[in-house]
Symmetry: C2
Subunit: 343 residues, 2 copies
Amino acid sequence: MAITTKDIAKMANVSQSTVSRCLNDSPMISEKTKKKVLKIAQEHGFQFNAHARSLSANRTYTIGVILPKSLFGFEGEMHFRSWQNELIESLEQMEFDVIVSFFENRFTKQNNIQRLLAAKKVDGFIILEPALDDETITILEQTDIPFIFCKYIPPFYKTRDVDFVCVDQFKGGYIAADHLIKQGHKRIMCISANHIGGEFGLRTEGFKAALRDNNLPYNDKMLFYGDTTFQSGYQVIKDNIEALRDITAIFAQNDLMALGAIQALKESGINVPEDIAMVGFDDIELCTFYQPYLTTVHQPTKEIAALTCKRLIEKLNSTELTLKQKLEISPTLVIRESCGINL
Amino acid sequence: MAITTKDIAKMANVSQSTVSRCLNDSPMISEKTKKKVLKIAQEHGFQFNAHARSLSANRTYTIGVILPKSLFGFEGEMHFRSWQNELIESLEQMEFDVIVSFFENRFTKQNNIQRLLAAKKVDGFIILEPALDDETITILEQTDIPFIFCKYIPPFYKTRDVDFVCVDQFKGGYIAADHLIKQGHKRIMCISANHIGGEFGLRTEGFKAALRDNNLPYNDKMLFYGDTTFQSGYQVIKDNIEALRDITAIFAQNDLMALGAIQALKESGINVPEDIAMVGFDDIELCTFYQPYLTTVHQPTKEIAALTCKRLIEKLNSTELTLKQKLEISPTLVIRESCGINL
DNA sequence: AGATTTAATGCATACGAATGCGTAAAATAA
DNA sequence: TTATTTTACGCATTCGTATGCATTAAATCT
């Protein structure tokens, strides 16, 4: 059996409550006793029994991370682990554990958020799932458990008021387009995606804004849609090869579609960057495998994860942090070969 | 406040113990009471307080999954999520939650396995981390908490006796080589990797065995080493271009190295499969992006994950399952283009 | 019917830590 | 020195569930 506060109390000749207070660094304990108790605890490798603690203090020191059931293409899969890693690391640094779970149990059809909530297994939620439904949000809001969206912009972000931190997608679209424009491109194709989250729409908005700010015209004929996969990027080009006549550059709203598009162009004898410039979005590792190495928009995963955790824990500790907050981090452009070499 | 067994007891006019027994489906309760209590519980959306339950019953219904600190190249990252998903799904099906954690806290330098163990936060461990040290294994063995290795073969698998389930790496190497041999190839290059886990060594053994069984000679000059990355596969070819004279086929022990190798070959004017046949290992999605589509060895992730969980829960439930078990699942060959088309 | 076994339920306590409240000891003030 | 405040600790209870044991009610046997 593991050692308990009661055991330590006996050894230190104090009461169990005193031990508890020492270990929690209560100010009402003398330095002498504190030192004595802490020493004994250390020597015996004492660890709190998490459940006794949670039961009594109503805090679990664990955070629920809600994962997407399915990811949206290869790109999601590839980034997924770094997102998760950063979240875990940030939370572990703050001495929290993380329970990962899908939004619902595929077998029992139970809502895992509700279940974890009712069972009191977590102190709060980080939601990496863009497809969360309105009802679950409502449930979360009705309890006072803190939760925050990370990375994915919830589809209802315009109408609902929730905490979230993500990259500034608008700005990402803007800097991608701006880079192309600054290189002299005037007729740019944009490959977006219909998607549950709001990010692709925002990238498109950023793209449009950059055109506008540079006095370039925009019309919907410049806008094409894939489904985020390599194949869809490939297919968009194949299906619209004649539309390419007027175009000197392409902004593909994720790297996979960009790479698929490059491949399709290559098969049609069109070279990147010589004939057409290309910029992607995400900065996946694959960008550095096949030439031309892709110029793309990089998302600062680590910072976003850290900020998400920081904010969540803040909400956890101060009961009166009810104001919602939208935190957007600026992405950066990483310039490689696919727009030509000129700095 | 959430509803408790005591509340239900009051409503049903029975004692709290009776409620507890009903909800746990104890055989010593009459059907009538059971039905009555269950109905009330259902109507009020009762959920056990996990901590009270764990404290009292000494069971947490949560499993710790130990993740690798770093993954080994892109390939690991790509597969990672499907492994994790399958594990979570399997465990949720059995009504277990999962706490994910690294082997050690990067900041406090605490051993997370020991910590979770001492805090009683988990009932058992699934270890996806190949780099676990001997000391931690010893600690785990000394407690009676069940644990099992999944996917990665621990480096000490030859000397230590632990439960694990993974793909039959030997067989994977064997079927890859056998496929090439059956197509008439006699001089085959093998690109392996020096790696912390045991899998690459086993793939090499399988490769050798296939040669032997087909009365083909083997010598160490056929064996080359990358580090599992695309770049390393590329580099192996670049550095040994003259060795290719004698060769008609290559077995690269993972897809990334295979694709890197194909790229390097292409740059030297050597085409796959026309000039050289290639077979990889892993079946990552990237295999279907660029031609030639890679023939490769597929690992049955879902089955392995499911078996891992099943076995762990079995160990959890029967205290006398002390015999260690090594469970190896056969991989399958998925034939695409990189070995030529002939069936 | 009376005795005995069996089934169904309640009582009381344990699990381990947190915490409000009371109190003794120490420090300060009068 | 005595009165008063402050500091440091202990006592007792609580959190919600599980479970051994006692008890009552029902069923079976003689």
